[in-house]
Assembly symmetry: C2
Amino acid sequence: MKLKVYADRMSQPSRAVIIFCKVNGIDYEEIKVHISKGQHLTPEFAEINPMKQLPAIADGRFKLFESHAILIYLACAFPGVADQWYPADVFKRSKIHSVLDWHHSNLPAEAEIILSSSLSKLESFWLKGNGRFLLGGNQPSIADLSLVCELTQLEVLDEKDRTRLLGPHKKVQQWIENTRNATNPHFDEVHRVIMLAKERQQHQRLKAAKNEGGSNMKKPLVSRM
Amino acid sequence: MKLKVYADRMSQPSRAVIIFCKVNGIDYEEIKVHISKGQHLTPEFAEINPMKQLPAIADGRFKLFESHAILIYLACAFPGVADQWYPADVFKRSKIHSVLDWHHSNLPAEAEIILSSSLSKLESFWLKGNGRFLLGGNQPSIADLSLVCELTQLEVLDEKDRTRLLGPHKKVQQWIENTRNATNPHFDEVHRVIMLAKERQQHQRLKAAKNEGGSNMKKPLVSRM
């Protein structure tokens, strides 16, 4: 029976799981659960995940939730997942657990103060050295995927806010780009909903600015004529 | 070289790591870092954990922080740790990751509203069935240890508050007791600092109540004389 992935691509951990499946050629069925429509709160979905959160998976009779636990399970239970994603080496693997746990407590993309200090720590600690990925790696692991998916949630911010937050962190920007390149075309495809949301927001902001700006600008224009 | 555990027994994840070492006969040296004295903020400790948080370990040249990552590392890297603590079976292990990740986002002992709803979920989901431990187990895993250490932080609360919070959750109470019994005498020994803190607080509350009560009660007493 095919792996079932219950996901809403608007949520960052859902995207991480979907990208992981795609990149590693895991045969899965995506079952869309729309948070905005409250579909995660139905009794049917509570059968899959009693905590009513996304993502969740069902692999035959085995059900699992929490995105990090899911990523680790997929890396271990499916043949053909490259060792880079969740190395068998106990030291390397432990460092990945450490990043993922740190991520849990420090990287909610919504809280700006925590985020700002976390971006500094990413830049100065997790991305120190010359590696292209976290922990000095030359290939991405599940930690890169999970954290970058969290950070791309920033895409929906106003360009000005995004630049203010990410601007000072060149290594973080480069690492996001490296992770994106290493997992494309899947990365972009799965993030398409976020980019669409961003475009909608920009459109609304432009419209608002135009209405506002229009009324402000009319006077000088008129006065010059 | 002996494993070094940097810990403050006043902090719940520190206690979980120390108890784990003791229960499993892991030879270690405890290096006390007093948070109340700001010892975790020194440049010396930043060499061990640049995030300046406790607990942290150093096993030879290998350094690690985040308590869940440490528990998993210890379970994997030290011979003689029973399989129950972090089962080799991928399905069992995945469920443990799921609990630990859920713990991260849902069980900060300080936030009462989250805590209350989390206790309900512990009772109705993670402790469902007849098992004496989480996930229906008959022996504790690192998930039991980590969560119970978090919850014993409630010990320092006023008895009334503690009863109000824990009272409705009989299964949770029994599970805390089961985990305590399964890891004693180490559990009690490591929690001694918490019990002492509790006694100090009770003493202060009694003293305050006595003074307050005293001044309130003096008048009627005087009037009766």
